[in-house]
């Protein structure tokens, strides 16, 4: 996003479903610490165990979230598409990704520097609260999906 004007960066984030309606100061701060990235099919966006240094919002394409066990093939447990965000490990200590994310379509994301974002959220609790209210439904949605999968799998 280095070739974009600050106004265009802000507009890009404001157009993203996750950021839409969040406090303007927070969106401006995030835009100032954001980079636009593109991934080809099969390229990793995140690797399990690595430092979670960015908050990633998907603009285009599709990202598969994969879990890995030594005794079985890699398993995609969720796909994330335009308007959605990847994970929350960047927010929670020790800031390490807990799964892999791989592009399953040509993908474009906005990656916000996690350290800058954490600092901003801590320094502006009202913005932090608004941000968490936006992020919590993402967590709740993943948890809900896993519950349904568990019930449908009839393992209880």
């Amino acid at each position: 996003m280095s070739t974009e004007s600050p106004t265009a960066r802000i507009a890009r984030l404001e157009a993203h479903e996750f950021f839409r309606g969040l406090p303007a100061g927070l969106v401006r701060a995030a835009a100032g610490a954001a980079a636009l990235r593109s991934y080809r099919v099969g390229e990793f966006l995140l690797r399990e165990g690595r430092d979670a240094e960015e908050f990633i919002a998907v603009e285009q394409g599709k990202v598969a979230l994969e879990v890995f066990a030594a005794d079985r093939a890699r398993l995609t447990v969720q796909t994330v598409g335009p308007g959605e965000v990847l994970g929350w490990s960047w927010l929670l200590s020790p800031h390490r990704w807990t799964l892999d994310a791989i592009a399953s379509k040509p993908t474009q994301v906005v990656a916000v520097n996690a350290a800058v974002l954490r600092e901003r959220l801590a320094a502006h609790p009202e913005e932090g609260y608004a941000f968490l209210l936006r992020l919590l439904p993402v967590l709740a949605g993943r948890l809900h999906g896993l519950r349904v999968q568990l019930l449908e799998a009839d393992v209880l």
Partner: protein, 287 residues
């Protein structure tokens, strides 16, 4: 010899009475997955296959083993189509029935999907697992009378890519411009480039006017419960959401009570029931 089937009190009656199955021959068998097969059946005696409405079911009898309620997944001219998953002794026998073999058929039973409620409205079909076969005849009707309906959104979820049924037909549906057909699976390997997540994760992407939408939902009960909740949250009225319930049906004509669900007999009052009517019972433990 060709003959029409009789009815009694609106219920179909075979030549030997309402509980006697009529012999049908398996005309063809398509293995959809490792444990799901689609059977095309035609009457052995050359009689006319009774007409059926989308969403109705038949009692299929594996001779000498038992009877099971199986939804009608298609009704081409003069034949019946059923898609069967091998789960118990009876369904395993039906699943394995080779072309040329005989099965017994009683029916069709039940009320079917209330298609007329959808006229002039957007239509959402949400299917989980083996919930797609009972919705397939409805989709045929919607497409045959396409101009009578608004947007058509189909969301179909299965456990894995290998458990998807009607795979080639789905590719044809997905290629059409007059409906949107989303497919998602619960989990997949690297060879799957589609969506992964439960059916409810795809509903936010579905395009419809909630206040002017009718939704038809079929799948595991937990999937239907959460799908109905997600539709309600999108603004679809409870009265416009219809679920196809599954219970242990025996007589299929509302006598034995095996399929009772709250005040409803699923075989007689359903299997398609309005969410608004059955919502209180969906949350009752062990009902």
């Amino acid at each position: 010899m060709s003959s029409e089937r009789a009815t009694s009190g609106g219920l179909p009656v075979g030549p030997a009475g309402p509980y006697a199955p009529v012999p049908y021959r398996v005309r063809s068998r398509t293995e959809e997955t490792a444990d799901i097969a689609t059977l095309v059946l035609a009457p052995v005696d050359g009689a006319v296959t009774p007409s059926s409405a989308p969403g109705q079911f038949n009692m299929l009898y594996a001779f000498g083993i038992g009877e099971a309620a199986i939804s009608i997944s298609g009704a081409p001219d003069g034949a019946l189509v059923h898609t069967v998953q091998a789960l118990g002794a009876t369904s395993r026998a039906l699943f394995a029935a080779p072309p040329g073999s005989c099965v017994g058929v009683r029916g069709p039973y039940g009320n079917g999907w209330p298609l007329e409620r959808a006229v002039g409205r957007d239509v959402v079909l949400a299917a989980g697992g083996l919930g797609l076969p009972p919705l397939r005849p409805l989709l045929y009707r919607l497409l045959a009378e396409r101009e009578r309906f608004g947007r058509i959104e189909v969301v179909y979820g299965a456990r894995t890519p290998k458990s998807l049924v009607f795979y080639e037909e789905i590719q044809r549906w997905r290629a059409r411009s007059d409906l949107r057909f989303q497919v998602t699976v619960d989990a997949a390997g690297r060879d799957w480039y589609g969506d992964v997540g439960v059916v409810t994760t795809r509903l936010p992407d579905a395009r419809f006017d909630p206040a002017n939408t009718v939704a038809f939902v079929c799948g595991p009960e937990v999937m239907m419960r959460f799908t109905a909740k997600a539709l309600l949250e999108r603004g679809v009225p409870a009265e416009a959401i219809f679920l196809s319930m599954e219970r242990n049906m025996k007589c299929a004509v509302g006598f034995c009570g095996h399929c009772q669900f709250g005040p409803e007999f699923v075989c007689r009052d359903g299997p398609v029931l309005p969410y608004a009517r059955i919502a209180p019972y969906l949350g009752v433990r062990e009902l």
